[in-house]
């Protein structure tokens, strides 16, 4: 008897440990995932620069300084052969093959510097130019062989410096990790989400009000309810197929644009908002409606003056969570053409644009090793945005939600 009880207690302890183990295992997965991303991505925010002196006396850039403010100044400077001058200066300063150590887009940094301060064109000045991707990786991770020796020599000369890489936050996508940035994708994401919110939020809230407050119980409202519940569980890629067939091929809306992306995500998040809003509306006690009706409010006044304001915190919480999910969505946007390479920051809702998760997907496919850390850095940015949205939702819930 005693030994049997001991066995049963041992089983009890094992079971409890198993449960704790399961919880810990999921926590471990999360920790490992975040650790890998942060470990890889932290370096993506920095970049290695090489100090290169350029002597514009010896190799003059023949350009009319008064035209540097023209809209086509970029083209003028490029035509004047600045890239050759920079490459020559790099070879001079860093020895044979020096121009291969700096990024092929490094001269564009010089160009912006010259546009900002034309006095640089007189005399000799030192520029901090972005290193080539290989040098950047070697400087951060260490390397062996010829490359390692080269980096060690540059470090010994004090020519290498690593700092926060602002172009990462300023630029759009590029094929060169030295100039690729997330600003284009971030702006595309913001445009897309704003459009999705502007469409999905009013529609979702109005639909929820109708279903919860006014709808008669009949076959039609049953159909509406069934379709909302099913839409919430339809795989997101199906919404991409719908958008491709309807918005792009039928309506002919602008392909790969924030407009179509926003419409697609709006259709996807609307059911989520409806369900959250219905729960929030349901939680408003009937006594409030009765009291308002009792003092002579019309049914529409009851809902818009009393029920909706009371349910709004709950609705907003659900909406923010739905929007956060839409912000991380990639699959439906793949199908409407947002997969294309876009080297410009989008300047409107109809302009071709990309979104942050799509940028992550595109970079993860890049062959250049410099993009590995850029991908993780973009993931960190995305996760920070999503976590703060969720934190905001939780804050709203705790701050404003009433228990009746």
């Amino acid at each position: 008897m005693q030994s049997r009880i001991a066995r049963r207690y041992a089983a009890e302890r094992r079971f409890k440990a198993l449960g704790l183990g399961a919880v810990l295992l999921s926590g471990l997965f999360l920790a490992f995932l975040l650790f890998v991303m942060v470990g890889n991505g932290a370096r993506g925010f920095t970049y290695t620069h090489v100090a290169v002196p350029i002597d514009f006396e010896a190799t003059p850039l023949t350009i009319d300084a008064s035209r540097l403010d023209d809209p086509d100044a970029d083209q003028l400077i490029a035509n004047a052969g600045l890239s050759d001058i920079v490459a020559f200066a790099a070879d001079e300063a860093l020895g044979d093959g020096g121009s291969a150590l700096i990024s092929e887009n490094a001269w564009k940094e010089v160009r912006s510097a010259i546009k900002a301060d034309p006095n640089l064109l007189i005399g000799k000045s030192t520029f901090e130019l972005p290193a080539s991707s290989a040098i950047d990786i070697a400087a951060k991770e260490g390397a062996k062989g010829e490359l390692g020796a080269r980096v060690a020599a540059l470090k010994a000369n004090g020519r290498l410096s690593t700092g926060i890489h602002w172009p990462f936050f300023r630029n759009a996508d590029a094929t060169d990790p030295a100039v690729a940035g997330i600003w284009g994708a971030l702006k595309g994401s913001v445009l897309t989400i704003v459009i999705a919110f502007l469409i999905a939020f009013p529609t979702g809230v109005l639909a929820a009000l109708y279903l919860e407050e006014y709808a008669p119980r009949n076959r039609w409202t049953d159909l509406i309810e069934v379709s909302i519940n099913n839409l919430a569980a339809v795989p997101s890629i199906i919404f991409g197929l719908l958008a491709l067939a309807v918005f792009i091929n039928w309506f002919g809306l602008c392909q790969a644009s924030a407009l179509v992306g926003g419409l697609t995500l709006a259709l996807m998040t609307m059911p989520v908002i409806v369900i959250a809003a219905r729960n929030a509306i349901k939680a408003v006690p009937p006594s409030i409606r009765d009291a308002a009706l009792g003092v002579g409010a019309s049914p529409v006044q009851v809902v818009f003056h009393h029920v909706l304001p009371l349910a709004l915190p709950g609705i907003l919480t659900g909406t923010i969570i739905g929007m956060a999910r839409a912000l991380g969505e990639t699959a439906p946007l793949l199908l409407i053409g947002m997969r294309a390479f876009i080297g410009d920051v989008p300047n409107g809702i109809c302009a071709p644009s990309t979104v942050l998760p799509m940028q992550i997907f595109l970079w993860s496919d890049e062959v250049d090793r410099g993009f590995v850390e850029k991908t993780s850095a973009a993931i960190i940015v995305l996760l920070i945005v999503l976590l703060s949205m969720n934190a905001l939702a939780i804050y709203l819930r705790n701050r404003f939600e009433k228990r009746w």
């Binding site: 409890k16 991380g328 699959a331 997907f361």
Partner: protein, 481 residues
């Protein structure tokens, strides 16, 4: 090198130069703002007039002044906005028609792609979206286009303003102290609510019809039986070849990753977490651990995909190589399945949590009172009682797993193998939809249509799983209520 094919280099296109000398165009957004402004004026005027009339009639109004304001504003806004929507979609065709009647259009090629390209080139220049023509043939058409655009823009603006003012004037003259403005405004509000709830039905119909329509076109090229039962998946562009659209390898890959491997990870861990959190954990621990678990569900799938491809898959390949498994690849079913399972854990856990909590406390107390240990109570009383709810939750989890796209696109690979080796590369329905639709091909090819047929299959299967799962969960809840 997958990236190279689908690339449109938008960067190379010349930057749009808007606003050099912008010609008159029909700018719908600006006009919408204009009528919104007019509606605001109408609102103020209607409110003021009703208040004035009321004061004259001795303070008796049927509706409060702002309802009269809303009434005028709606009459001002709605007809003009509807006209705006119609005109925006109709006027490009009218403009093109007028341009085609001019003498400059006679030298255009009769039909085909070139004609369209020339016309759209001239249009973009005339409407200020582009600084100069790209095709020389478009140059003489720019002026007629600009004229026609301006012509129809003026007509449209005039008609819209006339409608807005007529509507506003009509509503304004109807304002009387005894006019039932509130009833009318509320009727429109109700209509708006009904329309909003119809969007859901419209979306469902849109999904079903667009999938069905394109799938029927696909099935006129390839028989249904081949897609459902064929065993070779190797779609080529051009005319469909027999035995290249067999879906079995895709369906098997989907089941292997989503329903087998992912569930082997998610069910035990999710269930045990739910049991521990509901039955053993202190409330303080539960309050902290649950949100952490939910973070796992909030991580975007593209991040999971990247994690699977970057970290999990190479590690598994090394393990497989150590074990001597043949055909080990970096794009393995196991990597995608495990990561997908991790993603599903919080989902399974919260469904199980709900079902276990729904079991009446009396059953648990009764079992404990008979001397069963907590673990015996859980295994022999709670879980059997909660089983229907748990099963429903698992079906929903499966439906979510087979519809998941990014993880499999990034980690599971694209080669259609019919294999049970989890270390080999398999592909899934969703991954193939993405593969078929990204890349440059015309919309009518069998390859593109096949994506819609696969989408239809996926939609029907997930729909079935959802309906069955929801029914089980509902029935189970009723049993204990």
């Amino acid at each position: 090198m997958r990236k190279a094919e689908g690339h449109l280099d938008f960067a190379r296109c010349e930057r749009n130069k808007i606003g050099r000398n912008t010609p008159v165009t029909f700018n719908a957004a600006a006009l919408l703002l204009l009528i919104l402004g007019l509606a605001l004026i109408g609102w103020l005027a209607g409110r003021a007039r009703s208040a004035m009339l009321a004061a004259r009639a001795g303070g008796k109004l049927h509706s409060r002044p702002q309802y009269h304001g809303w009434y005028v504003a709606l009459w001002l806004f709605a007809p003009a906005a509807i006209f705006l929507a119609v005109w925006t979609s109709v006027s490009p065709a009218l403009i093109t028609n007028q341009v085609l009647t001019t003498s400059a259009a006679e030298s255009l090629p009769a039909f085909g792609f070139e004609r369209g390209a020339i016309l759209s080139d001239a249009r973009s220049v005339a409407q200020g979206q582009q600084a100069a023509v790209r095709l020389p043939a478009a140059a003489p058409l720019v002026k007629p286009y600009a004229q026609a655009t301006a012509h129809y823009a003026w007509i449209g603006i005039a008609a819209m303003l006339a409608l807005a003012l007529a509507g506003g004037a009509y509503a304004f003259t109807r304002i009387r102290p005894d006019f039932r403005a509130r009833t009318r405004v509320e009727r429109i509000v109700m209509l708006l609510l009904l329309l909003a709830s119809l969007v859901a039905i419209l979306t469902t119909f849109g999904i079903v019809l667009s999938l069905l329509f394109e799938s029927l076109r696909f099935f006129s090229l390839v028989p249904v039986s081949e897609l459902l039962f064929g065993t070779t998946w190797n779609p080529q562009s051009g005319a469909p070849v027999a035995d290249t659209f067999g879906g079995i390898p895709l369906f098997w890959g989907t089941v292997l990753i989503g329903a087998i491997i992912a569930m082997l990870v998610a069910i035990p861990i999710g269930m045990m977490s739910a049991v521990y959190l509901t039955q053993y954990a202190a409330p303080a621990l539960r309050r902290w651990v649950k949100p952490c678990l939910e973070i796992l569900a909030g991580v975007p799938t593209v991040v999971y995909g990247y994690f699977a491809a970057l970290t999990v898959a190479p590690a598994l390949r090394n393990v497989a190589a150590m074990l001597g498994v043949p055909n080990a690849s970096t794009e393995s079913a196991l990597a995608a399945g495990i990561v997908m399972g991790v993603m599903i854990i919080p989902f399974v856990s919260s469904m199980a949590d709900d079902s276990i909590n729904a079991v009446p406390q009396a059953m648990r107390d009764g079992s404990l009172a008979l001397g069963a240990t907590p673990n015996e109570t859980i295994r022999q009383v709670l879980i059997p009682a909660a089983l229907p709810g748990v099963m429903g939750g698992i079906l929903l989890a499966v439906s979510r797993a087979i519809g998941e796209t990014m993880i499999v696109v990034m980690a599971a690979g694209l080669s259609a193998n019919l294999t049970a080796n989890p270390f080999a590369s398999v592909t899934t329905v969703t991954a193939q939809i993405v593969k078929l639709l990204t890349g440059d091909q015309e919309f009518d090819s069998a390859k593109t249509l096949a994506a819609f047929a696969l989408g239809l299959v996926l939609f029907l299967v997930t729909l079935l799983l959802n309906i069955v799962a929801l029914r089980i969960v509902k029935k189970y809840r009723e049993a204990y209520e």
